[in-house]
């Protein structure tokens, strides 16, 4: 009797996690995996995006992609976002470390740093459009410091990608900062006390406690930064529409699909981007293995 009861309970116990998982899994399959499989399928067709007929063309789209180097030139633009991503991580780490100590108004500063991440991307695009206008906010502020020249922050092809990448930095700094701050605060307080008793100063604490302690989060952020810079889209698309040499790979893909009705080719490009991101992540994980952290 008791054994049967236990087996009944254990069936329920075993299925409980699955019942909890059913809803998120259903969402995941519906909204992530189904579209991905659809995309894989589209990439093998010459579909124009709305016609009821889809012509199967095999790997023709992939052949076209690899035989057109001009389609990959746009990855050059990603370098700007990668550079800003590195700066973003350094800044986020700096602010997270400083604000993890007892600083006056620290909650206020946390809010200030995180706030941009909460703003809608379209709003950010419009705000910075005025910010970057010749004689606009940025030029006025620079004018206060004596630099009175007007710059075409978005109009000058040598500046446009730096301008856009710095908007992206401003926007995503908060997210990065919160990730780092959370990781730093999960380091037990006693360890700091012990370190202080041993005569470690703040710099020693950062170097030997915080950095090793948050290493998994740093490597996660690095992956997010790299994949984010390869697939930068929202900010340049809203602010310049990819004009003036600011086209990224995703903008180019969107234009192929929705301007020139080449959904098949665009799907193939999206698949290639997915593969590139997976590959870069894999290389990164092998160069910097994610070991368990043991501070004690």
């Amino acid at each position: 009797m008791s054994s049967r009861q236990r087996s009944g309970r254990s069936l329920l116990a075993r299925s409980t996690p699955w019942l909890f998982l059913a809803v998120p899994l259903a969402f995941l399959v519906t909204f992530t995996y189904t579209p991905v499989f659809n995309m894989l399928f589209y990439s093998l067709t010459s579909w124009d995006g709305f016609s009821p007929d889809m012509e199967f063309v095999g790997r023709a789209n992939y052949t076209e992609l690899v035989t057109r180097p001009d389609l990959f030139q746009v990855f050059y633009v990603s370098l700007f976002y990668l550079a800003s991503g590195v700066v973003q991580m350094v800044l986020a780490l700096y602010f997270a470390t400083v604000l993890s100590f007892n600083v006056r108004f620290r909650n206020f500063f946390k809010g200030v740093l995180f706030f941009p991440y909460l703003i809608n991307g379209v709003a950010i695009g419009f705000v910075f459009l005025y910010f970057f206008q010749p004689g606009g906010t940025l030029d006025s502020v620079l004018g206060l410091f004596g630099a009175r020249d007007e710059h075409l922050w978005l109009g000058d092809p040598d500046l446009v990608n730096w301008s856009l990448a710095s908007v992206s930095l401003w926007r995503y700094l908060g997210l990065n900062f919160v990730l780092f701050l959370g990781a730093i605060q999960s380091i037990p307080g006693e360890i700091y006390e012990a370190a202080e008793l041993d005569g470690a100063n703040r710099w020693h604490q950062v170097r030997h406690l915080i950095l090793p302690g948050i290493r998994p989060v740093v490597s996660l952020s690095a992956i997010l930064v790299v994949s984010g810079s390869l697939s930068a889209f929202e900010i340049p698309y809203i602010m310049t529409g990819g004009a003036n040499g600011s086209t990224t790979f995703v903008i180019q893909t969107v234009k192929l699909a929705f301007q020139f009705n080449k959904v098949g080719l665009a799907s193939a490009a999206a698949v290639v981007l997915l593969v590139i991101v997976l590959l870069v992540t894999w290389i990164q994980r092998h160069l910097v293995p994610d070991e368990g952290v043991d501070l004690v």
């Binding site: 109009g155 092809p157 004009a243």
Partner: protein
């Protein structure tokens, strides 16, 4: 491992179901059949949904007013409007389903040969052509699928006060004269002579609409289908793009084209801070409204033709706006057809919005009447080869009606892009010729 493969299999099955659902298309009730105009207006009944891009007219009640007028003749048809902000993009995707209203504007991206898959035939071109303009572009293999809601005449909106202040009283007749006039505006007034509105993208596509005007050639668009070098010296596209290049190169346009917005340009033209905006006739009423809002005189807004003449007169291409069609899945095709006909025949839409009426017998609004009286001849581009031209255009990834290609010309002209205009023309010619071969 086993669990993972089960999940994977489930995902595959689901995605296949989704794909087949996407490509399934037909099968719904009421699919197929022609949309015939009802013989007796009082007998036809049903609820119809009209998808519309005119969100402003839906919001201020103008469309509801039209529906009320419509109900005086067709008392048993109930019209519901579904305004869509991102009309082109949203409706293009909705065409994958069978649920895209009873009446809709045909998205520009749908190729003409696909019309029979989505829309109900409205009649033969021989019948409809006598009554309406722009029938041929909505026709496929002997059947008409869409009737334009109105037409537009190309030209440029300009601020008369600014041009007068610069001492110019006549419309320029050549591109060089146009440039000299803009130079005079720059020298003698405070206004910027011309805005490209590069940043917004879509306004710069207006330059494509000048195709056919320099030569007054109704076949200009069709000729592109077989022309392997449309940007060669002396050709129309070369002339249009060279003018755009020169105007920007002479610094007669906005200082930073990448940050100018549409709303700002509109009010600045209205108040005389901008001399000229290259936009078609639909913009006139908006500019007048902007002038009024800015405290300036709406009568200052003028409309001039593209600066080129053939045989001593100006030509202005008139072209259709969105075409109204009846969905092939509609259950009330008679009622839907009644709305399509009533809108172009009886509604006051074209008059009120100062647009060219689709109805051949319809009166021109005052603005266009004056334009025609000043010696501008309206021509209509033949659309017989349009399906081929758009196929070549998409294949070549040039995008004649997309902003990117003319934005690049502006970049070259202001020294922001690398390369020369001639080099770019050669590249465009090469792309176009290759695409003709591929599409062939």
């Amino acid at each position: 491992m086993k669990k993972r493969s089960t999940a994977l299999a489930a995902a595959v099955v689901m995605s296949m179901a989704a794909v087949s659902a996407c490509s399934g298309g037909g099968g719904a009730g009421g699919t197929g059949g022609a949309a015939v105009a009802p013989a007796d207006p009082t007998k036809v009944s049903g609820d119809i949904t009209v998808l519309t891009h005119k969100t402003d007219l839906a919001a201020d009640g103008t469309l509801a007013g039209y529906a009320a007028e419509f109900n005086k003749i067709y008392p048993n048809v109930h019209v519901k409007f579904e305004p869509i902000v991102n009309y082109e993009g949203d409706v293009k995707i909705r065409l994958n389903s069978s649920n895209y209203g009873d009446v809709l504007m045909i998205p520009a991206a749908v190729p003409v040969p696909d019309y029979p898959k989505f829309f109900a035939p409205l009649g033969t071109p021989a019948d409809l052509d006598q009554k309406y303009r722009f029938i041929d572009g909505g026709t496929y293999s002997g059947q008409v699928y869409g009737i334009a809601i109105n037409g537009n005449a190309t030209g440029m909106v300009y601020n008369k006060a600014v041009w007068q202040q610069a001492g110019i009283s006549n419309w320029p007749t050549t591109p060089d004269e146009f440039r000299a006039d803009l130079q005079a505006i720059k020298a003698k007034t405070q206004a910027t002579p011309l805005y490209t509105i590069y940043h917004e993208g879509w306004p710069i596509t207006a330059w494509q609409s000048y195709l056919g005007e320099a030569g007054c050639d109704p076949a200009a668009n069709d000729k592109l289908a077989a022309d392997t070098a449309p940007w060669a010296a002396g050709k129309e596209l070369n002339g249009i793009d060279t003018l755009l290049y020169n105007v920007v190169h002479d610094q007669l346009t906005e200082k930073d084209p990448t940050t100018t917005t549409w709303d700002a340009a509109k009010s600045q033209l209205g108040t005389g801070k901008i001399g000229t905006l290259p936009l078609a006739s639909w913009a006139i009423s908006q500019m007048k409204a902007a002038a009024k809002t800015g405290g300036a005189d709406p009568a200052d807004i003028g409309f001039m033709p593209f600066p080129a003449q053939a045989n001593g007169h100006f030509c202005s291409v008139i072209s259709p706006d969105y075409r109204q069609a009846v969905s092939t899945h509609s259950r009330h095709k008679e009622a839907a057809r009644a709305w399509v006909d009533w809108f172009v025949d009886k509604s006051t839409y074209a008059q009120e919005q100062a647009l060219l009426p689709t109805l051949k017998a319809g009166a021109l609004p005052d603005e266009l009447k004056a334009y025609q009286d000043a010696g501008v001849q309206f021509i209509q581009l033949s659309q017989t080869k349009n399906a081929d031209v758009s196929k070549i255009d998409n294949q070549s990834e040039i995008g004649l009606n997309k902003p990117d290609y003319r934005q690049h010309i502006v970049d070259l002209a202001r020294g922001a892009g690398s390369g020369s205009l001639d080099g770019y023309f050669a590249e465009l010619n090469k792309k176009w010729a290759t695409a003709i071969k591929t599409v062939g």
